[in-house]
Symmetry: C2
Subunit: 271 residues, 2 copies
């Protein structure tokens, strides 16, 4: 999906909501465990119930890998379902990959060619040749970790460099020179919304993927106010557990739909 | 595998060789493509032919993920084969994972519990709570990226901090305070062997996993001379393409065995 298509969908739905599919067999409703593929059945029901309010879906790879072969199969079925039934939705493989060039190419092959995700999250520690393998695919995106929402985000990302930048600012400065805003986005944690103003001075137009709303404590209003780009919105706000585990009962999908709707309504005020 | 067992095996074989299983369908001998699981058949033959000269094996996850479900199955079969037939060999999931705590736990579940690898490579950018999920498993290891062998390794890892450390030194300083040398190792690229002396001043005892020998240009002699710890060797030197693709013909396994033997003999001089 290209930038224009993503922006058009955001404007149409008045939503920047990304639903994180951190699907965990120990937390999904018990009646689904009797089905052949509980993870896929859960994801399918969540997507069906929330897609009017969301513009993107983000399976978190760890939850699928934790279930081995069966988990990888659930992941394949989930992205196939999204692409077949909801081709207007933006898909994110939250995989945080990053390795040398010949290895990075294989990750790009896995997530862009084979699974056909629109985008993948990537870690910048190994530098330019670890990110370039994800560039140059038409309508595909690399989403680079800049400033993350977890407590450990401060350990290295906020280290001051001799150049007076923080490390995450250096990551923004360098990586944004490697690719345009048409194929690169950044992960910026919502629990750091005081940083959004600074980040928007540095990269006014790139899309930001903002996790950390809900279970991790960030506020949608703060992010909508300070995180939008100088044009075309430029935001995706992720909620995972707050939406998908809104209820543990048979009404889980309806409850997820209601939560997604609430978030969409908070977003619409600013759109 | 714990530290004492790894050291004992190194001393017995007079080798610190790790064979990287970057198994690529486009490079393995053509006759294997007719088998039910070419990647596993290739790995099995390589392991059988090289295990007298090697102490560790390192499947590179990207190459398995690039083949989808079939690739994940080949990975499962490879680690099962290693654990069943060669329980004295150290296994490394070269996955370079790193995410927030609840996600990191799932990656640890995937690689330590389900696949039963001895260790996994992890990226430090997201800080302490992204690495801690891999700690506290008896006889399991987190192998943290410190200074990598690719050209982009310099982009961020060599940035000077206001504190006068380079970023990779800050990573060593902080992460080495989170866990002992019994459960943490570091990735240090062989193409940066001039840095080994500095690194050994900072962390004299931790094991280093040194890739970049062979195809990437590093020298075994340099690493053996400057990379050993103050006690108990503390080194694993990886070669991937140089060993496993020594021949593209029917003799591929023998050729890999010969290359592994050559490397082992270079290592034995220093052990």
């Amino acid at each position: 999906m290209n930038r224009q298509e993503l922006i058009a969908q955001i404007k149409k739905k008045k939503s920047v909501l990304c639903v994180g599919l951190d699907t965990d067999l120990s937390r999904i409703p018990k009646h689904l465990l009797a089905t052949e593929d509980p993870i896929f059945e859960f994801n399918k029901a969540i997507i069906d119930a929330t897609n009017s309010y969301a513009v993107a879906y983000k399976p978190n790879l760890a939850f699928y890998e934790a279930e081995g072969l069966a988990g990888w199969k659930s992941l394949e079925k989930t992205i196939e379902y999204l692409n077949a039934y909801y081709p207007d939705l933006f898909s994110i493989a939250d995989a945080k990959r990053g390795d040398i060039g010949n290895t990075g190419k294989r990750y790009a092959q896995a997530f862009f060619n084979r699974l056909n995700f629109d985008s993948i999250t990537v870690a910048p520690y190994m530098g330019r040749d670890s990110i370039e393998p994800f560039l140059g695919y038409p309508s595909k995106w690399a989403i680079v970790l800049a400033l993350t929402s977890n407590p450990g985000g401060a350990d290295f990302q906020l280290q001051k460099l001799a150049s007076s930048n923080s490390l995450y600012q250096e990551v923004l400065a360098q990586t944004s020179s490697w690719a345009s805003e048409e194929e690169m986005m950044y992960v910026v944690g919502a629990t750091k919304s005081e940083f959004l103003i600074e980040i928007r001075k540095q990269i006014p137009n790139h899309f930001l993927l903002v996790p950390g709303v809900g279970a991790q404590g960030g506020s949608v209003a703060d992010v909508m106010e300070h995180g939008q780009g100088s044009k075309d919105i430029g935001l995706l706000i992720n909620s995972s557990r707050g939406v998908i585990y809104a209820s543990e009962g048979a009404d889980f999908a309806d409850a997820a739909g209601q939560e997604a709707k609430k978030l969409q309504e908070q977003m619409a005020i600013y759109l």
